[in-house]
Symmetry: C2
Subunit: 194 residues, 2 copies
DNA sequence: CGATGCCGTAAGCAAGTGCTTACGGCCGAA
DNA sequence: TTCGGCCGTAAGCACTTGCTTACGGCATCG
């Protein structure tokens, strides 16, 4: 945990590189430790940068969080057509360490209220509408309910996998089959119309 | 936020009552705010008690957390036979405010590691084994995988419902039908054996 | 009554937090 | 070369955190 993982030792006088180093360090730490437990000193250290620069470039800790996580999430959201978002998300979730992180960062952004509330609402709406568009029904509310359940499912799996000692069987091989089956069942409007 | 909700003004010199007041205040705040954002001062204030007593009775903040949340969870786990745990949990989740709280407290107990790790692992194992026993199959790993997916589903719904502005359709009426259908699909061993 | 043992209180400490400020030095422009 | 504007740094401030300690008071028991 002490040695950095993805940081180039930016010793040059390049503000853009410094910003980038801070953002990647922030993404890693926010995802791994959550917002509260991540200190600005830790982010700056991981980026190999003085902490004062963090405030110069991002204003405050919340500004850094917002920019770091929003960028990471938008990358995944816009990586392809909405019809493939579910597949992309599932695939990302089971990658060794990689792309499940922004989800955790968002969820751990704040306990209940406060930090990143707008961001959470915005991302939730984006995912929900994308999933809801996959439901072939006229009942809008029902489509949204199914989409939100599906998103909750994905979030729950990500959360459980992040808890040490729990979710040992939630591997790609063991779980993704059941996951895809349950997902299509949730999205299939021919079953259990309300 | 400032005025307490469920606290009797314990002015008497009754250590048991003081302990209870601290525990209920802790349950409410840990569930609402998470472990990090909940301060011992806030718990003591909500309980109408001096904060020094908190340390006298529970040793430290983590001891208070452990005792408060463990008791609340064990209550739900042992409220009936394991076969009905799923139904009990779903019912508790959609109660106005009540029993979804301990789940949130456990999840928000710590970002990744540290506080309440043993508790999370213990509760996860209890739920997983209870759900796995409902799967009618000889393939133990498959049963565990299905149980963990189901638990993840429930956790995800609870988490989403706790985020303001997201999960607006995750009400009992709109969602529980789909939820029960997806749950039985996950537990039905006749579909999608690995 | 006097004494002993809890219960409750006030005050504060050491450490860590986000954030600010004043300063030194490298760079390109004039 | 000189100068002005960024980039990077060290130091510290105001505040909150979990936790401790020394003390005052009610109550029970002899």
């Amino acid at each position: 945990m002490s040695s950095a993982g993805t940081d180039e030792p930016v010793r040059t006088r390049d503000s853009a590189a410094t910003r980038r180093a801070l953002l990647t360090a922030a993404q890693e730490l926010f995802a791994a430790e959550g917002y509260d437990r991540t200190t600005v000193r830790a982010v700056a250290d991981r980026a190999g940068v003085n902490q004062a620069l963090l405030f110069r470039y991002f204003g405050n800790k919340e500004g850094l969080f917002s920019e770091a996580v929003r960028g990471e999430m938008m990358e995944l959201l816009n990586a392809g057509p909405p019809e493939e978002l579910l597949e992309r998300t599932i695939a990302a979730m089971f990658e060794p360490v990689k792309s499940a992180e922004p989800f955790l960062a968002v969820l751990r952004g704040a306990g209940s209220s406060g930090v990143g509330a707008d961001l959470r609402a915005e991302l939730g709406a984006a995912y929900t509408s994308a999933f809801a568009s996959l439901v072939d029904t006229d009942d809008h509310d029902d489509a949204v309910a199914r989409a939100e359940l599906l998103l909750a499912f994905l979030l729950g799996i990500t959360v459980m996998r992040s808890i040490p000692g729990v979710g040992t069987m939630l591997t790609a091989e063991a779980a993704s089959g059941h996951l895809r089956r349950a997902s299509t069942a949730l999205l299939d409007s021919s079953s259990g119309r309300s």
